[in-house]
Amino acid sequence: MSAASPEAAQGRITEQFKVLKAQGQKALVTFITAGDPGPEFTVPAMHSLVAGGANLLELGIPFSDPEAEGPAIQAANERALAQGMTLTKVMEMVVEFRQSDATTPVVLMGYLNSVLAMPDFPARARTAGVDGLIMVNLPLEEAADLQKGLSAKGLDLVSLIAPTTADRRAQEIASNSSGFLYYVSLKGTTGSGALAVDEVAERMKFLRTLSDVPICVGFGIKDAASAAAVGAHADGVVVGSALVQLMADAPDVPTAEQRLQTATAAIRQGLDA
């Protein structure tokens, strides 16, 4: 709720991972683009993802130049922008979502220019009920200012580590991270098919030694099997393009809700097996 205390906002992500750990469960993190394929889809979709077993919701901020995205999420960005989506509207969606879900953490994900265009982003995000932010194009060296602003409002800036990140740098990123760490499982854009589970497992062994912050793995995870394979080595998995694809051609909101819930439940099952 918009009246949530700063402590509650600070806690939602951390609390969720704590609960999951106690239950011996992996986190299922889902990504959809806000306003795709139309603004009326987003809040119902968020609830369906939770109903299907998602533990943390990533909501993409539509951007004109999503340079790290594969074709599925690029198209989602274009559809959302064509429908007049803005960051302000993304916030309004989170407010609406929070009216009936006060516990599931919501993390916004996107590109720095969107956030720069809203100077009071941290305050507005917190008021809306957002818990964290993932910036695709904001490496450690450039992140200090935004991180300061976010943490003053109790929001987590989720850091990314890539397969190409050198060990020392990974250490630095890990010690600066809050909420959870996002390990990008492959060299490529979102939705790419080149997932190599052995390499991920190998890398996770090392990353585990760096920090107690939970680590979720994303990029290339699309179904129960890949979620199970990767989930065995991580605290959670992120599924994005596969879900975005499901929504792309949904003729109406109920169809999208049903597809998302079914797909999420199947991935949940794979992850829990």
Binding site: F63, S64, D65, P66, E67, A68, E69, G70, Q74, E78, L81, T86, L87, T88, Y111, L112, N113, S114, V115, L116, A117, M118, V136, N137, L138, P139, E141, E142, L160, I161, A162, P163, T164, T165, A166, R169, I173, V184, K187, G188, T189, S192
Partner: protein, 408 residues
Amino acid sequence: MAEPIADDLLQGYAQPTPNGHFGQYGGRFVAETLTHALDGLADLYASLKDDPEFKRELHEDLAHFVGRPTPLYLAERLTASLGGASVYLKREDLNHTGAHKVCNTIGQALLAKRMGKPRVIAETGAGQHGVATATVAARLGLACDVYMGEADVHRQSLNVYRMKLMGANVVPVTSGSKTLKDAMNEAMRDWVTNVDDTHYIIGTVAGPHPYPMLVRDFASIIGQEARAQMLQQVGKLPDVVVACVGGGSNAMGIFHPFIDDADVALVGVEAGGHGLSTGAHAAPLNDGKVGVLHGNRSYLMSDDDGQVMETHSVSAGLDYPGVGPEHAFLKDIGRATYAAATDDEAMAAFRMLNRQEGILPALETSHALAWVVENAPKMAPEQNILVNLSGRGDKDILTVADIDGITL
């Protein structure tokens, strides 16, 4: 062969910082996956830029493959008709491939070779950078993919075919506005996927660090030569140095060796399109705000929601919503000023140079000439303007014919 100006002339101005910042601009705003490759590129360049063998190789290529130094030419009839300052043209149109762009691609291709990367990629708008990349790739035997907005593929069909003749694969980009910025997005996506065996040859002084510095340094041969030629042929430095600015590589290339010459005014000319007041232009330094795109912070044409706006210019090479971060810095510290010329003003200057000097400049370059046409008459006859004649206009013949209502 003109040697680079001694380093002590550049001692006062030392940008960027080790992290690639020019004041608040520049930096490195990319996906984490690319950080490693950018570090590697920055380290390699740092180790090579003063390496005698690398410099020899580079200068050998610039002399015998590109045809440098390019002449400094007094445009006498143009000067006489404008009735003010003398106009000197730095003839970058006479480079192999027809523009200054090849100086950068040769430098970067040599870096790719040193890194052992067998493949290069590039983005291109007007096609000049694509052609320059395809050219050096052919010469060094590197695989080459050039990303080009679908709209530009149609507008610049001659350059597309030139690239194909040299063995490059031209990839039409259908996302977003289907122009240069989208081609750059797609090239970044390719690079993030194939970073192990591919070097991305960015064509302008933008992108993440170290590109703005690297591209500037390779382009600075223009200013180094021009400065020495002014002293030798005219006996003094110019009063004004003028260049067009899209991403801004030709302008940084000619400005940089003059930055510590406080008496030399530096003027960049952006694409004013249909006019700054119409919003249909590509002039972020005149009418943009600070933002982040394609790996760096600079002036950017973006809306209240941070979405990058579509731009307009008659010249495809200036049709870009961002600008190199060093230009943003030079603007803010007041070392350079940035004007804008409209499509019509650029076209008028283009025709003037055709008729009075027998030179067909690129439409990009014509924007710098438009500033000269307007301002040379206001200056004294003993004053001198140095113009970067950054490229030739052969590629624009179809566009100009189209404006004239002629089908070739």
